[in-house]
Symmetry: C2
Subunit: 473 residues, 2 copies
């Protein structure tokens, strides 16, 4: 189903042998929780990216931190790669066993361990997903805002420094993880912080692990902030005569400091796909999907101000979703945009872009990219967490069509270079994985990437933790 991984993306693929003695030792401890069945291995050897590689040699279904530590210690003994796996929703090839090794699936580590409603914190096992978390804390009147779209695990979201629709107001995993429990490359278990809201106690190991994409350890527990459910929530859809008008409205909203909770751009192509997929009748024009959180008075103030700004740019047909059901319907449509797009071209895969630029550069970055994408003839979807200057093109390609892939990668390449010129980043929230290793070098520079490599070599001298991702050693 997946295309072969384009070799130019991989500096080297040297499969490392997984000795049968290791598999035997894993089976001795984990019995049926260590699987070598091809279907299980294949399921764990891919993600939502368009890449493919041979599957891992075995999959261990961990049920505890001790399980993870045991498996990592064994893998370290045999110098065999370890790839942490949550629910497989990453987008950049993070989960591919490009050097072989074993996958450690933490999805059964799905207990909410400690809800401290009085402190607005919760500690969960790494396999808890964001929807499960919100379900389990609902009775406290609190919620966890980070929403990357997919129902990802908290471990995976930490590992990729995920964010999504609510980040414009509530921040990303970077701002919302208080502490982690991590099994290191030697199989030891550490905690990276406390439940205190702030700390100046030594190196920020929490933030070092957040976004390290499994290359420095396996995240086994996550402590995150929770927020009081807003007294009032209001969602609005606004349609614009052009993408530019929608983007310029967004820029002004952010520059004025409106504490908007969500502001998502969906272009007219994508609205069409979403209408078809979700049986909706949204106007097939560029739209902003917005949400306001606060007191009833505060929400009203925000919404009025935004409506005024939108109107000045020709935004019209403000449609309000005041009931939870209507809001859910709208956000479900937004969340299904990816799948709606994939289904619009049977057999296709999406090559996703993830640039993020300073808010004033958003129009420059986005509009030129739209022109180029339109000119390419490749169908695409375009959605964006535009309040953060972050947006995603998904170029819909036939994975077996080298020409389409090349055109899409060329568009991506041009977009990234544009974003970097505008003082932005190649990845706002998806991570580097296999797909953006070259971009990272351009963005961060040799010196900074060499510092990352030095840290990696020091903390994982055998290079067993998800090797070959982020950078080549």
């Amino acid at each position: 189903m997946n295309a072969a991984l384009p070799t130019h993306l991989l500096p080297e693929i040297a499969q490392r042998e997984t000795p049968s003695a290791l598999i035997d030792a894993l089976k001795a401890r984990f019995a049926e929780r260590c699987s070598t069945a091809l279907v299980v291995r294949e399921q764990h050897g891919r993600d939502e990216s368009s890449f493919a590689a041979p599957p891992p040699a075995a999959v261990v279904f961990a049920q505890s931190t001790a399980d993870v530590a045991y498996a990592v210690k064994l893998a370290a003994e045999y110098s065999v790669p370890v790839i942490p796996f949550g629910v497989g929703t990453s987008l950049e090839g993070h989960l591919l066993a490009i050097q072989g090794g074993i996958s450690i699936d933490v999805s059964r580590m799905n207990r909410v361990l400690q809800i401290n409603a009085e402190d607005l914190t919760v500690t969960v096992q790494a396999g808890v997903t964001r929807k499960q978390l919100n379900e389990e804390v609902k009775h406290t009147g609190l919620f966890f805002p980070i929403d990357p779209g997919a129902d990802a695990t908290l471990g995976g979201m930490s590992a990729t420094r995920a964010s999504g629709t609510n980040a414009v107001r509530y921040g990303t995993m970077r701002e919302n993880v208080l502490a982690l429990e991590v099994v290191t490359a030697s199989g030891d278990t550490i905690r990276t912080g406390t439940r205190a809201k702030k700390s100046a106690a030594g190196y920020d190991l929490t933030r070092l692990m957040v976004g390290s994409e499994g290359t420095l350890g396996v995240i086994t527990e996550v402590t995150v902030k929770l927020y009081p459910l807003p007294e009032a929530i209001s969602a609005a859809v606004c349609f614009f005569p052009s993408i530019e008008a929608a983007v310029r409205t967004t820029i002004e909203v952010i520059q004025m400091g409106v504490p908007i909770a969500r502001v998502e751009l969906i272009d007219h192509n994508t609205v069409r796909m979403v209408n078809k997929h979700s049986k909706l009748n949204l106007r097939e024009e560029p739209m902003l999907l917005m949400e306001f959180h606060g007191t009833p008075g505060g929400v009203k103030e925000q919404a009025e101000l935004v409506q005024e700004l939108a109107s000045a740019h020709g935004g019209n047909a403000f449609e309000w979703a005041s009931t939870p059901e209507e809001r859910t319907r709208l956000w479900t449509a937004r969340h299904n945009a990816y799948f709606a797009a994939i289904q619009s071209k049977p057999g296709c895969r999406a090559i996703s872009t993830d640039t993020c630029v300073p808010i004033s550069r958003l129009a420059d970055c986005l509009l030129e990219s739209v022109t180029q994408a339109d000119a390419s003839g490749i169908p695409y979807f375009l959605v964006g967490h535009v309040g953060d200057g972050n947006f995603h093109f998904g170029y819909l390609i036939d994975p077996d069509n080298a020409q389409e892939r090349a055109v899409a990668e060329d568009l991506n390449h041009k977009l990234v270079n544009r974003a970097l010129r505008l003082e932005g980043t190649c990845t706002g929230e998806h991570g580097v994985g296999l797909h953006k290793m070259d971009f990272l070098l351009t963005e961060a520079g040799d010196g900074a990437v060499e510092m990352m490599r030095t840290i990696k070599r020091a903390l994982d001298p055998k290079d067993i933790m998800n090797p070959g991702k982020i950078f080549s050693l």
Copy 2:
């Protein structure tokens, strides 16, 4: 003036030789900007802590990143310690040349390099102070909220992961630094990020450097977030019948999610000291000093809610400061609390505590500490960024009185253990420095501290960057 550093705080003090060839080479490049005058060296060999050590062998006044890189490269060649210096306001012995070496003073690197008002970001040289920064961005209608009290440099604030009074709403340096320029231990210069609001591009080197206390490199440039000046600001003072009543009010304010901008506890002792020092007539009772930011309607809502919560705990005499002058007068009093306290006992030094606990544990942590401090007979001041669960006792000791010092350190020790038991941290914002190395071990555990050491050894193999701070190698 300073007391000798208690030896139990230092696992070893091995002064490393600074060869005259190094000094000669520095003088050749920097001429009068490399000083070996005793008075200059002594000024750079201490901070606001109560410790003392021999001064550095020389002080280099850098004017550019290239200056810093040149000096560090030379120091690396001779394996001589390098201690970055801003304006000397750190509190935990960070600046002491306990192993000898040279101090690099960046206070002349004080240019605001790039104001991007349209993106709410600014890039400054490391020696710019927070007051200077706010002065220079005033015309944009934006401000930089992080306020640790002292007029510290942005470089120093980054290095210690500073926060202060506004952190309850705006976060700490951890949340507000977007990117750094850093001269590494080898004298190379790297950038750790872009101006994008969020990024998932590799290891979070920015956050690794923020709070690393000069042990991983010299910070030379800092890019931080700015915020629109609130449309309305209102400050209030409220007096309480007991510290407990003030604390319980604070806990409820935070738990209800009120976006209060500042909520500072000042105990009755400290109010007395402040009254005397700043010629004020505040009621000598425990008080909360609060500030609300937002739209006029939002500020009114917040203030009314807080007043209601305070009243239920016996809080009274809400006094409003609506003009900027009144607000400045109040906050100046708060900022002068430290100096007011120091002056209340001539010749004394303060041993400051800095615990931070989850908000629900604040009363438990604080009240028992007050009881013990009162029983000790040592005079003290007590102020707190209580909305974050962070507060500071300053035990006022005669630095030459070993008995007083021992009693104060014992109080501190008990307080830290209490905070750790309550799932908090030994340092919310001051950093570890020399003073909290043992506490860090207890808090983070051997494994986590060993991970910090491993990173340090890898990035600074000659151990020249502010050696002997945070942990012993």
